[in-house]
Symmetry: C2
Subunit: 204 residues, 2 copies
């Protein structure tokens, strides 16, 4: 991607992509911006504006070509670039993410999980091995792993983040409710469920 697309637009385009997949599965060939906007309860003009930033010429009088629009979103958002990831923490959340087959369609290749629990090490989750956390640095370097998906309990988050940094992994997708202290060259994406909850429940 050359130009920077705002985060909110990326988020909406991903939702449009889900809808297009559903339409494809249902054998629909065309979709209108009004159909998309009504499903998401947003403005029709917003949908058209978002779609206008894609390289998409598939608009006809009867709507957008579902297949073409889906492909444009994939190209624009870079689904096809594969990124390698390790899940650190094979608890319920780590297991849930390992079972999330959808990630592969979006370019995320989860190679393995790591834990320090002897009872889990050596088992498999959705075809991926759970490995000893002690092997993290060695395997991260050997496999050029881009992303560590951090799903350990909050109290171990910083300690494991340090280990991730030492393992030369540059991106941390942080699912723990903590703010990690890492060097400037490490990117952290906080999957902030509490923030989400508070945004969502604002009006209850």
């Amino acid at each position: 991607m050359e130009k920077k697309i705002p985060e909110k637009v990326i988020n909406r385009l991903t939702l449009y992509h889900y809808i297009l997949q559903d339409y494809l599965n249902a054998g629909e060939k065309y979709i209108s911006s009004a159909q998309v906007s009504s499903l998401l309860n947003i403005d029709d003009s917003q949908v058209r504006k978002d779609i206008s930033i894609l390289d998409n010429s598939g608009k006809s009088r009867i709507g957008y070509d579902v297949e073409e629009l889906k492909t444009s979103i994939e190209k624009t958002l870079g689904f096809s670039k594969t990124k390698k990831a390790f899940i650190i923490g094979a608890g319920n959340l780590g297991m849930a993410l390992a079972k999330y087959d959808n990630f592969a369609n979006y370019g995320l290749n989860i190679i393995a999980l790591f834990d320090n629990d002897r009872a889990k090490i050596g088992s498999t989750v959705n075809g991926r091995l759970v490995l000893d956390i002690k092997k993290l640095a060695n395997l991260a370097r050997k496999n050029n792993v881009d992303i560590a998906i951090l799903t350990v309990p909050a109290k171990y988050a910083q300690q494991i983040a340090n280990l991730i940094v030492e393992s030369d992994i540059k991106y941390i997708w942080n699912f723990t409710p903590t703010v990690l202290c890492v060097p400037q060259n490490i990117q952290v994406w906080n999957e902030n469920l509490m923030g989400s909850l508070l945004q969502f429940t604002y009006n209850i």
Copy 2:
């Protein structure tokens, strides 16, 4: 809350709150905006601007009073208003969320989980019962449940969303990678992990 706070600000305030909790645990009495901004790798001026919207007078020459600032964030974001929730789907993700004790501190009271798997029904997760999905409507009405946290497999998401709507639950926190079709009076918050992933991995 009277005035509408932008989502991004709510998100950042939640992260400041995590940091303040860490400072409190470490026995620190004061914190500067520079300390917050360096942990989050954002601008100092942004932190000061966000804090300025709070009713907080705890700023001194040596920084903000940690305890006071934490309390102001809690008041502003309405942590104290308790909302009742059911988790629908007792798979790994549902179980992970049920085990997330942090939610209670943010005003989310998870009452029970629901599933259709006989092997799970009747068991407990973190002190909460897993109940038969058939009982959803009855129990949701009896308990005035505000929020359904939807963690079923994507292919059942719409069908279960219909059931949630019939059960008079007005808010759906949707963790499935699908766009739900619901009546206008139902609020859906899409916890869009694919969108997150794509925003985060944009530059890899």
